[in-house]
Amino acid sequence: MLFENPEIAHDDLPQADSVTWLGMDEKFVRRLLTEAALILVSVSIGIRVLQFVFNTAFADNNVNISLGWLWLLIPVAAVPLFVWPSISVPRKGYAIRDKDIIYKSGVFWRTVTAIPFNRIQHVEKSSAPLDRRYGIATLQLYTAGGSGGDLKIHGLSADIAEQLRVFILDKVGASVERR
């Protein structure tokens, strides 16, 4: 016998659902709201430019194209854009255990993803300009196969993301396997 395989009761196993979840960075909601505001501002500018172009282009032909209804888009888009972050962000969370990392997300479709450290191929940390403004980073964990997008954790504070990156890489390196 090279290894034994005794039966294990589920209660003896570490349970992924009974962990203490760590939330996203508190500035993350503000960052998303800023993004929403920026989107709305750029859409408003876009509408204004469109109106200007149409008015000058058709100025001679007595055609009056009203684009006023486009402004309706702004409040229609504004409601979800400004409300959604404060609903979805508190539902996101991650937990680090000794041998794996667990990430949960989703409001209607709640997903809990677990990645054992000894299956991680590489780790990537990135932050967009707006992220940097709020000191936020995205941590991306890659496993082999790459089917269906790898785990992406957006909304960690840059410091924690860096700590996690180092910690995970350390764990990945430590998990030596026989082949």
């Binding site: 570490p14 041998k99 989703g106 709640r110 997903t111 299956r119 082999a144 089917s147 026989r178």
Partner: protein, 509 residues
């Protein structure tokens, strides 16, 4: 024979040019229009006799392609070092590849008629990476290919305690047994493979509208003909044309089926599956012999599938999937095109060994547990009733009461959903998992728990109310989705598999 050679960069046989020529023509055929446009432009631009111009053009084309192929051969060098195969290639764009032996997922060789006469083979080294990272050794001596295979196999074994180590007591004896033939396919099987090939039946789908067209066109004419014949009592041309049309159609179908059978002979003639210690090797092919070797430890999932025709033949198709990145993965799999139901347990035991002894690939087995009935309700609601009522409501504006026909989608969809539900089945054992699913036929996917890369558990709103969840296992060869299972059982299974992954001392690759 020592394969390692430190200093010399080697040329392949000059016949490799044939290999490159084949590749060039293949590529040209794939994008024929853009590739041949300049040639046509050149042809039209020059003046003179058309025949001479075409002849000249053809000659130039052949000359250019041969030159390119020869240049590709000339600039290809390879070297076999201690731990890796090094390749330098490229005429204009130089590339250098360093393929480590232990990164090689599978090794496959091809031997066409010309190569066979000279004892040469083309070797393809599959790695888990993208298609660009794969090594080709076109036209090398067969002895070198064999030595390479042996070297790679040894690479697995030195530092290795793969699955076979589990039964280590007789492991050493095991290794000495050497190659054993697991199965062979004969000519009759080739017929079955050809007939059950998807390609043969895809054409039928394409032909569907054509048949309809024929029906309408000739249906009307026949109506007329009947009237005419009542007057003139002469049935001639048109009915004949209808018959001719049918004959052409039938001939076309026959042609497709025959082509498919010929394809099966070309690809799988004298198919043989051999197990050689830790390596599974398939050989087959009429003109070009294809050989594909996979190390057992590199296999991620095993898929036994049975389509419409295979079900009639009571046969299965087996695929051993390896790690792949994206689209190019399909070609790397080891495929057993046809096997009998009672060969399934033998083959799965050969692949999984003692580690997953209780794996079941036969879809009819009673061991598969059904998923929750809520699947039917949710699916009928989401893909049947909801879209049907929305479309009926929308179409009732232009169509009026006639829009009710769209409601017919509901029973059709419900039948499909029910069929799919019945085909779903899960078999979770202490060591691995098997999922059965299908619509027309069956497909059973089996994998070892320790090969899983990550697990996600999702609950939709209705699922949360009913205490259900959808589990998704991501493996290096793709993902396996187990829908609508009890939430508590799903989380238990998830926790257990995580435990198995994290406590396994064996590598997944």
């Amino acid at each position: 024979m020592s394969v390692a050679d430190q200093e010399n960069w080697l040329h392949t046989s000059p016949l490799a040019a044939i290999f490159y020529l084949g590749k060039i023509y293949q590529n040209l055929a794939k994008n024929a229009v853009p590739a041949l446009t300049p040639v046509f432009v050149l042809l039209l631009a020059t003046e003179g006799n058309l025949v001479i111009r075409i002849g000249f053009g053809l000659a130039a084309f052949v000359l250019v392609t041969i030159t390119v192929a020869f240049l590709q051969y000339w600039f290809f060098r390879y070297r076999i070092a201690d731990n890796s195969v090094l390749i330098r290639e490229g005429v204009l764009k130089k590339t250098q590849l360093d393929i480590k032996f232990d990164r090689i997922q599978a090794i496959s060789t091809q031997q066409n008629v010309i190569f066979r006469a000279f004892g040469l083979v083309s070797v393809k080294l599959d790695t888990a990476g993208s298609a660009k990272q794969e090594g080709h050794l076109p036209a090398v001596k067969k002895s070198l290919a064999d030595a390479l295979k042996e070297r790679i196999r040894q690479g697995y074994q030195t530092g290795s305690s793969t699955k076979k180590a589990a039964d280590n007591a007789d492991g050493e004896e095991h290794r000495e047994v050497g190659a054993r033939t697991l199965m062979k396919l004969n000519g009759r099987d080739m017929l079955r493979i050809g007939l059950s090939s998807n390609r043969a039946w895809i054409f039928l789908v394409f032909l569907g509208p054509v048949i309809e067209h024929f029906d309408q066109k000739y249906g009307e004419k026949i109506d007329k003909q009947v009237i005419l014949s009542a007057v003139e009592s002469s049935q001639g041309g048109v009915a004949g044309a209808f018959g001719l049309g049918l004959m052409i159609l039938f001939g076309f179908l026959l042609f497709i089926v025959i082509a498919s059978i010929i394809g099966a002979f070309l690809r799988y003639h004298r198919f043989e599956l051999v197990t050689d210690n830790d390596v599974l090797r398939s050989t087959g092919g009429l003109l070009t012999r294809h050989e594909h070797s996979v190390n057992l430890a590199k296999i991620q999932t095993v898929v036994a599938s049975q389509g419409f025709m295979l079900k009639r033949f009571e046969r299965f198709r087996l695929r051993a999937k390896q790690a792949s990145s994206g689209k190019s993965g399909g070609q790397k799999n080891l495929v057993v095109p046809l096997c009998e139901p009672d060969q399934l347990p033998i083959l799965s035991h050969e692949i999984f060994g003692e580690e997953f002894a209780d794996v079941i690939l036969e879809p009819t087995s009673a061991a598969f547990l059904p998923i929750d009935k809520q699947y039917v309700r949710s699916r009928v609601m989401l893909t049947g009733i909801l879209p049907a009522t929305v479309i009926t409501a929308l179409m009732s504006i232009p169509l009026g009461l006639f829009a009710v026909v769209f409601l017919l989608w509901i029973p059709v969809n419900a039948y499909g959903v029910l069929r799919k539900y019945r085909r779903y089945g899960v078999l979770a054992t202490p060591d691995g998992l098997a999922l059965r699913r299908g619509f027309i036929g069956y497909r059973v996917t089996a994998f070892l728990h320790r090969k899983v890369q990550r697990i996600s558990l999702t609950q939709t709103l209705p699922q949360r109310r009913k205490g259900l969840a959808t589990l998704r296992f991501y493996l290096a060869s793709g993902s396996v989705r187990v829908p609508y299972v009890d939430f508590k059982k799903a989380s238990e299974l998830r926790d257990y598999i995580l435990y198995r992954i994290e406590s396994s001392p064996l590598a997944w690759h």
